[in-house]
Amino acid sequence: MTITKTQNGTTLTVALEGRLDTMTSPDLEAELNRSLDGIDSLIFDFTKLDYISSAGLRVLLAAHKQMSTRDGMTVTNVNEVVQEVFDVTGFADILTIE
């Protein structure tokens, strides 16, 4: 999985490409731990993300909790597979999806 970060002031955009599964979710978690200091708003760009498992959902949930005390977190450009995962697990009600 490829992680591309773009920072604009206190807004961080993280674009993921590939699969967010058991093997790759620790990498995302490590990246977020390194990068969230001083960030008020977090945006995930899932344009090129084609697979997410529960391991990835846990990383998103942890990030969402962390950002809930700041300006928040948004998930954008979700494909059909990922959207269905969010719907089935109830994450569609928790996350801000655009």
Partner: protein, 581 residues
């Protein structure tokens, strides 16, 4: 996993088959040694009735194995409990009916069996029947509880029950031989020892962890009928045994009570060694049923090959042992102070000839039980009758006409060899292939299972292997024309349930854990089967309300149209179905 499972189940099934044979064997030894040749002949005349009790119990047990392996594979606990409740009710009613008929009418029954209306042999036969019939509820109950204990993975408790029964039978035999009516005492001792076995088994069935629940409300005549229907092939086998013993007794009666006593020794010892055959047959039936319900052609093939190897090795070892100890066994049952030399020599020779039939009998048992598990009921019944009665009775009749009683001893080896030959010819005629070619001997219908190219199988041993298996699954589905969305859903299910099993099941020591995954493409659905050898754990019903830790299972249950869990043969089995396209 199949190899280990076969070994475990074979040990348990063989030992459990001893529950009936051991009591009969111990009784034979005690009767021969302490009461003499006439008592031994009386025991032989009573045998068809003892076998009849065993036949009813075995029929129900076979029906339970077939019926409950299906309901367990479906995850239908209600139907399984209905089977359990109905089986217990059937045993209770039939055994009480048995007692009500045999005890008051034993005089007429003994006369019909050929022991005569009066005389010492007739009296001994009546006395033994009276004592043994009291134990009918327990001896039938023991046979019926065995498959439930095996399905629940209670092999150790089963072994303890068998051991307890054996020890108590020996002790009670020695005590009750002192009664003024010693043959009644021998029958009573067997009865009481079966009750001891039931008491040990009750430790599990009355415990909270028992997976089967008895309820009068769930007793169903329709279910009882179904159990008997499914067990009919087994009843053909038992009925054939009963008829065969009756015919052999009649033939040997013309040669004197020496010959009948010798046959009693041969059948008692032979049946004990034949527990290997019963064990092999039981494993074929139970595991064959599970593989058949999963349409697992590979599993069935592997099972038959493994069992055939065990059959040859165990049959050879048992045959050599039996041949070596035959003079000792004859002397043990018919000591010089209680029996004629002629009876001992006949028994010894008969046992040696009997030993030749153990390998072909084991091989026949595999095929017969696999055919029963794969719903080839008519074929199973035909094999039971031809192998169990027609061929051995014919061999005995033909050869006794010019070899006297020695010709009769050929009944077992001759009958089994001819049966195996006939089966091979039948398979060749039916399939056009050699019986040992591929899956020809399984005689499966052409549309059984899925084509190899529509099946993905993988064994997972560690967490590292999971993502790769998920990717392979997705690629497998895409190559078969599935949409990217469905392919990813299927891969997700594989990944999530594999992770769940490894994280929650692999962590508890013991033997090496493995998770077997099968992905099958059916015409109208995808089926994913997970099977692991961890401690019993139902992931479907263990989904806490709002606990985010259960995300993976919640995801899978949201994507799958059906999810079924069962615990059988000491394995966790989960089947998921997803829609295609």
């Amino acid at each position: 996993m199949i190899r280990k499972l076969v070994r475990q189940m074979l040990t348990a099934q063989t030992l459990s088959a001893l529950t009936v044979s051991l009591c009969l064997l111990i009784d034979s030894i005690m009767i021969g040694r302490f009461l003499g040749q006439d008592a031994m002949a009386a025991y032989g005349y009573a045998n068809p009735i003892l076998l009849a009790i065993g036949a009813i119990g075995s029929m129900l047990a076979a029906g339970i194995q077939v019926s409950c392996s299906k309901s367990l594979a479906r995850g239908d606990h209600e139907d399984t409990n209905r089977g359990f409740s109905s089986a217990i009710a059937a045993v209770a009613s039939l055994s009480l009916l048995f007692i009500a008929v045999v005890i008051p009418f034993r005089g007429s029954i003994v006369s019909a069996l050929g022991a005569g209306d009066s005389g010492i042999v007739s009296d001994y036969t009546k006395d033994y029947l009276a004592g043994f019939s009291i134990g009918a509820p327990a001896s039938m109950g023991a046979l019926v509880l065995i498959p439930f204990m095996q399905m629940a993975g209670q092999s150790n408790l089963l072994i303890i029950a068998v051991a307890s029964m054996t020890v108590s039978d020996v002790v009670l035999d020695l005590l009750l031989l002192q009664l003024p009516n010693p043959m009644f005492g021998m029958g009573l001792a067997s009865s009481l020892s079966y009750y001891v076995a039931i008491a040990v088994a009750a430790i599990y069935f009355f415990s909270r962890k028992c997976v089967f629940r008895f309820s009068w409300k769930q007793v169903s005549l329709r279910k009882i009928a179904q159990l008997f229907r499914n067990g009919v092939p087994a009843s053909f086998a038992m009925a054939s045994s009963v008829l065969l013993v009756f015919v052999l007794n009649r033939i040997l009666r013309t040669f004197g009570s020496d010959a009948v006593a010798a046959l009693t020794v041969i059948t008692a010892v032979g049946n004990t060694f034949g527990c290997i055959i019963t064990g092999i047959g039981g494993v074929s039936l139970t595991m064959g049923g599970v593989f058949y319900n999963e349409e697992d052609k590979t599993g069935l093939q592997e099972l038959v090959v493994l069992l055939a190897r065990h059959a040859v090795i165990l049959g050879l070892a048992a045959g050599l042992l039996l041949a070596a100890i035959s003079p000792l066994a004859a002397r043990l049952f018919l000591p010089p102070e209680k029996a004629d030399l002629e009876a001992r020599e006949m028994a010894s020779l008969g046992l040696r000839i009997f030993a030749l039939g153990l390998i072909p009998a084991s091989l026949c048992a595999i095929f017969k039980n696999v055919y029963q598990a794969t719903e080839r009921v008519l074929l199973t019944e035909c094999i039971s009758v031809i192998e169990g009665f027609v061929l051995p009775a014919t061999v005995a009749l033909v050869f006794s006409s010019f070899m006297q009683q020695t010709g009769v001893w050929l009944f077992y080896a001759g009958g089994e060899l001819l049966a195996l030959l006939a089966l091979g010819l039948f398979i060749r005629r039916k399939t056009g292939q050699h019986p040992w070619d591929n899956t020809a001997c399984l005689l499966l219908r052409k549309d059984f299972g899925v084509a190899e190219e529509d099946l993905l199988e993988a064994d997972i041993h560690s967490l590292d292997e999971v993502p790769e298996i998920a990717r392979r699954t997705e690629a497998f589905c895409l190559e078969r024309g599935q949409s990217a969305t469905v392919s990813k859903h299927i891969a997700l299910c594989v990944e999530e349930m594999a992770l769940n099993t490894i994280e929650h099941g692999f962590c508890f020591g013991g033997s090496p854990r493995v998770l077997s995954v099968r992905v099958l493409r059916k015409e109208d659905r995808w089926v994913i089967r997970f099977r692991d050898n961890c401690f019993p754990r139902d992931p479907i019903h263990y989904v806490p309300g709002e606990d985010r830790e259960a995300l993976g299972v919640r995801l899978v249950l949201g994507l799958a149209t059906e999810a079924r869990y069962t615990y059988s043969m000491n394995l966790n089995n989960l089947a998921l179905e997803l829609p295609p396209h």
